[in-house]
Symmetry: C2
Subunit: 210 residues, 2 copies
């Protein structure tokens, strides 16, 4: 059975990453979404294990120390990270794991022991005007909050060149099509098809018995 | 403008490689097919520059010496090779070049100065019985000729693990779909989209002028 791969999707907030991630999960239901752990308080309606694993700072830090976090970072005073156990379990079942994380998480996973299983994709907005309008459109936030998000977006975009693939999200259907194309091609890579060795052995047996 | 890539398609004879190559050329008419040079005599109906560039051994060997051949090999007493000039011209125009060549040619191009622009795909037959039936089906050849081709096929298949991607041609439509998927994904790789640097610069200018 093939080993699952780690699909990392990063982008500035507002570039369409979450929509793409959600559509990918319905497109192929074998993909596992990596739910992050966080020390921040749950918001109304958020459920432990669905939006996030909500953990105390003490528990989170112990997980980091014992190597149970594939990556983690502090953002606005809260810790966020990707637990390693579920990822390894999915990989062994031949299932791919999708990570909706920022450049810091992407860097850490690429540099981890699972780095060779990573396929990383960066999603760029068509323009900054479009990015800002999407950020403004989805919530009634103050100019200050928007300015903070825009600064974070600029920082995120500065890391685009660290990714294997880049999708410019001018149109969500085209972008989604590009995303599935990348995933399908990656699954066709020789070193992601371990069953092939066995298959070629059967071909050779067939040659020998002609 | 992006730099064209070198798409190498190899497979044992009878695995469907030529059908795939032909379909790919109609699917995207910007792709350039690499016509090989050879020292063998033209067969009736073959045209210089279409099936092959027919060259004398003297001319061919001079081309090898002056570095005008990207790869070459001797097969059954005749020299075959891929002229470098047209490939470099296509790359500069942002056009991909398709090579329908064997493992020896594939190895040489991967190890050439253009190696980093190579995407290599190996096409496997679903079974040896199927391979033999396709070889027998297309011509009235003697058992001896068939046996020679089968031996060559076995040798070709032994190099499958040197390729980036592997397609098992169980069904030609599925195989073709996989081929175009690979090509489209490769074109989305960051380092094959040189225009992106300029695009991100415009995004940064937009950020700065907010």
């Amino acid at each position: 059975m093939r080993r699952g791969l780690l699909l990392i999707l990063s982008s500035p907030s507002g570039a369409g990453k979450s929509t793409l991630a959600r559509r990918l999960m319905s497109w192929d239901r074998t993909i596992r979404f990596s739910v992050s752990a966080t020390t921040r308080q749950p918001r109304p309606g958020e459920e432990d294990g669905r939006e996030y694993y909500f953990r105390s700072r003490e528990v989170f830090e112990t997980m980091v120390k014992t190597g149970e976090m594939l990556e983690h970072a502090e953002v606005f005073g809260n810790l966020y990270g990707s637990p390693k156990g579920p990822v390894e379990a999915a990989m062994k079942e031949g299932r791919d794991t999708l990570f909706d994380i920022d450049w810091q998480g992407g860097q850490q996973i690429r540099n981890s022991s699972l780095g060779r299983d990573v396929v990383s994709i960066f999603v760029l907005p068509p323009s900054i005007a479009e990015l800002e309008s999407r950020l403004r459109g989805r919530a009634q936030d103050s100019d200050e909050v928007i300015a903070g998000r825009m600064a974070k977006s600029r920082d995120e975009i500065s890391h685009w060149a660290e990714y294997d693939y880049v999708i410019v999200n001018r149109d969500i259907d085209t972008a989604f099509n590009e995303l599935t194309t990348i995933l399908q091609a990656e699954r066709l890579k020789r070193d992601r098809q371990p069953d092939l060795s066995e298959f070629v052995r059967t071909l050779n047996t067939e040659f020998a018995s002609r």
